[in-house]
């Protein structure tokens, strides 16, 4: 369906992505990497906002740049940071975006009402967006991405600003949508996609690290994740010797989760690796940045 073929992206001397090779079919793909790893660069190339320095992106064998509006007609895209017209209501804003997506007003109006209801904004569809919270604006963004019933839905950090209840609802919505289309969700929040993604794509050092199911990726740490408890005073020396994944205090003791790939000690409790464990392990040396 959608193929990223040996794509590289450079900004001057800086290489954001190198020789990316990916294939997407119908289903939900989670693009997981820390901030600054190149997720947004990849997504913007899929949305034709950025042009690859090398390589090409193909949709059913055709270059998406050459397809131009024929490709974007199939696309629903929610950027990580998107502005809005403060004096517009969600209805007015979506009507404008519908026009740009080539949808007639007559066709767009019922769709807008349906989508705003779906993202729980039906009762404020005529209110000016300048009074909206971050979560409400994000929900308008989600609604606009679905306006043209896209074949390819690309969402960049879609859960930013959403509360836990909204996140849960959003996950259900995504699962539903991914049954009949390609959905790519970029995030650095593992829990957003862990339970719903058919495949996870991880980017490291400007290249694809993994593109596999959650189970297979977690399997790379099989038998290497443990939990143990210790006194607080022992924690510092433990940190020096092992890759810690999490620490929590319980009944006056520290419970730590960590990676160890050699023979374990007897009092360590082996645990099932989670996607977050892989994420923390793989990106343990990376510092969080803000740029993409």
């Amino acid at each position: 369906m959608l193929v990223v073929k040996e794509v590289s992206k450079q900004y001057g001397d800086f290489t954001a992505l190198r020789d990316i090779q990916l294939e997407f079919e119908t289903g939900l793909y989670g693009l997981l990497a820390p901030n600054g790893a190149g997720k947004t660069t990849l997504i913007k190339m899929l949305a034709t906002l950025l042009y690859p320095t090398k390589g090409e992106v193909l949709y059913n064998g055709n270059n998406i740049i050459d397809m131009d509006s024929c490709y974007r007609e199939l696309l629903g895209y929610l950027p990580q940071h998107f502005g809005y017209y403060k004096n517009y209501s969600p209805k007015q804003y979506l009507l404008y975006l519908s026009a740009l997506k080539g949808i007639s007003k007559k066709e767009a109006l019922p769709k807008i009402i349906e989508l705003l209801d779906k993202v729980a904004l039906g009762d404020v569809m005529n209110k000016k967006m300048k009074k909206f919270s971050g979560g409400m604006v994000q929900r308008v963004g989600i609604a606009q991405a679905l306006l043209n019933d896209p074949k390819i839905l690309i969402l960049d950090e879609p859960t930013a600003g959403l509360d836990p209840k909204e996140r849960a609802r959003f996950r259900n919505l995504l699962t539903d949508l991914a049954r009949s289309r390609l959905v790519i969700v970029s995030t650095h929040i593992v829990s957003d996609i862990e339970s719903i993604a058919n495949e996870i794509i991880m980017i490291k050092n400007q290249q694809i690290l993994y593109k596999d199911s959650v189970e297979t990726i977690c399997g790379t740490l099989d038998g290497a994740v443990f939990e143990t408890s210790m006194e607080f005073e022992q924690l510092e020396s433990f940190r020096q010797n092992y890759v810690l994944l999490s620490e929590k205090q319980e009944y006056g003791k520290m419970i730590v989760r960590f990676i160890h790939k050699e023979t374990p000690l007897v009092d360590w409790l082996p645990v099932q690796p989670q996607l977050e464990d892989v994420f923390l392990y793989e990106y343990r040396d990376e510092t969080n940045g803000t740029g993409q």
Binding site: K44, A47, T48, L49, L50, Y51, D68, S69, R72, E73, L75, Y77, P79, H81, F82, G83, Y84, Y85, N87, Y96, L97, A99, L100, K101, G102, G141, Q144, N148
Partner: protein, 411 residues
């Protein structure tokens, strides 16, 4: 329409438009103290016809004499001309007249002034030496070499046109006395210059706002990833042109509407713009063609529209590249001033001194002298060549800016 709405809903744009309209109305109304006197020309045209002939002048003279006799009788005074009467009149004597008598004296004085001017047209025009004026200009601007040669050639052509004008009798048509009321300068210099500067401010503001809107509202990622994509810039271009056109039409409409309500031009539309009465300063207005006041007004409005649209195109191109309305506004303002001053940086012996004068700033700010001979921008082809050249330049720049935008990353 969606793109136009972005400007129409802008309080700054609407506020400025309103402010400029009100100011223009104030400017016209506050300068209208002589509007009643202007009506005398309409009376003259009604009574004696538009063209000034020996017969019509003799008739006018006869009528003035009749009115003067009546005045002498009612005032019990003896004088040769109304001018002489007014010059020797003390304030006390003036107060002795009734308002009606005073109005009659004033009207007669104006008629006498028109008569005297009309009578001296042949004499005044016989004294005009176009070639000598050209040589004077060369000396005044310190021109030499090909620049001096070019200007003298232009004056040579103007001399021929002047002879033709005199032969046609274009100068012998009634119009508001230039040296007394300066109506041509007031309309085409003061009023039009206000309209031009205000229109340009609004146009540059509106075009820059529309073009850079998505980048300033940070909606560019959403908007340019829709089906319309980067082609939206074509819509923005059309919207900018439409807004520019409507802004100028409305501003011209409101301002000129007020002007012609206040000043009655109803009888002078067909008068030649080269009328001897339209002689305000040292040199009369000598149009390259036999055009009437009405036609000149349409042509001037056409230049304003063309210039405004071209400035809108240039603003669009700059805003497409810089993606910021403030920088685009400042850039175009700088450009406008720079090209205005450009000829002064050229060698006065080079033809470049004249070529660089073929620019939009000089064309628009010198609108009162459009289609007229004489001066540095008085070439017969100046207006259409300037508009044509800048249309090509603007079209080229817009095309390059758009092509560049379609190939640029949107971050």
């Amino acid at each position: 329409m969606y793109e136009c709405r972005k400007v129409i809903q802008s309080p700054i744009f609407l506020g400025l438009f309103l402010l400029f309209s009100v100011y223009n109305i104030y400017l016209i109304v506050s300068s209208s103290d002589h509007k009643e006197e202007l009506k005398i020309v309409n009376e003259l045209i009604d009574t004696y016809g538009r063209d000034i002939s020996d017969t019509s002048l003799a008739q006018l003279d006869q009528d003035i004499q009749k009115e003067m006799t009546q005045l002498k009788r009612s005032a019990g005074l003896e004088f040769q001309s109304v001018h002489e009467l007014l010059e020797n009149m003390s304030l006390e004597e003036q107060e002795a007249y009734s308002q009606e008598q005073w109005n009659q004296i004033q009207q007669l004085a104006v008629k006498e002034m028109y008569f005297n001017t009309a009578r001296s047209i042949d004499e005044s025009y016989a004294e005009i030496d176009i070639q000598a004026t050209g040589e004077g200009e060369v000396r005044m601007y310190g021109l030499s070499g090909s620049a001096a040669f070019y200007l003298l050639q232009e004056y040579e052509k103007l001399d021929k046109r002047f002879e033709e004008l005199v032969k046609n009798g274009e100068q012998k048509q009634w119009f508001f006395a230039g040296k007394a009321y300066f109506m041509h300068s007031f309309l085409f210099q003061t009023v039009f210059r206000h309209i031009i500067i205000e229109s340009l401010l609004l146009i540059v503001l509106a075009t820059a706002l529309i073009t850079a809107y998505e980048f300033e509202q940070k909606t560019q990622l959403l908007i340019f990833s829709t089906k319309r994509g980067r082609k939206l810039m074509k819509d923005k271009f059309s919207a900018s042109i439409a807004i520019a056109l409507f802004t100028m039409i409305f501003l011209l409409g409101i301002t000129l509407g007020t002007f012609f309500i206040v000043f009655d031009y109803s009888h002078v539309w067909s008068t030649s713009i080269s009328s001897a009465f339209n002689w305000e300063y040292n040199f009369p207005y000598i149009a390259w063609w036999d055009i009437s006041v009405g036609t000149f007004l349409w042509l001037a409005a056409g230049i304003v529209l063309a210039g405004g649209l071209l400035i809108s195109c240039l603003t669009f191109a700059l805003a497409t590249v810089v993606k910021n309305s403030y920088i685009a506004f400042a850039g175009i303002s700088l450009f406008f001033v720079a090209v205005l001053l450009l000829p002064s940086f050229m060698s006065k012996s080079s033809i470049l001194f004249f070529i660089t004068g073929y620019n939009l700033s000089q064309l628009l700010l010198g609108i009162s002298n459009s289609f007229m001979g004489g001066g540095l921008t008085g070439s017969r082809n100046y207006e259409w060549l300037t508009v044509s050249c800048w249309t090509l330049i603007a079209a080229g720049i817009c095309f390059v800016a758009y092509r560049r935008f379609t190939k640029t990353d949107i971050g």
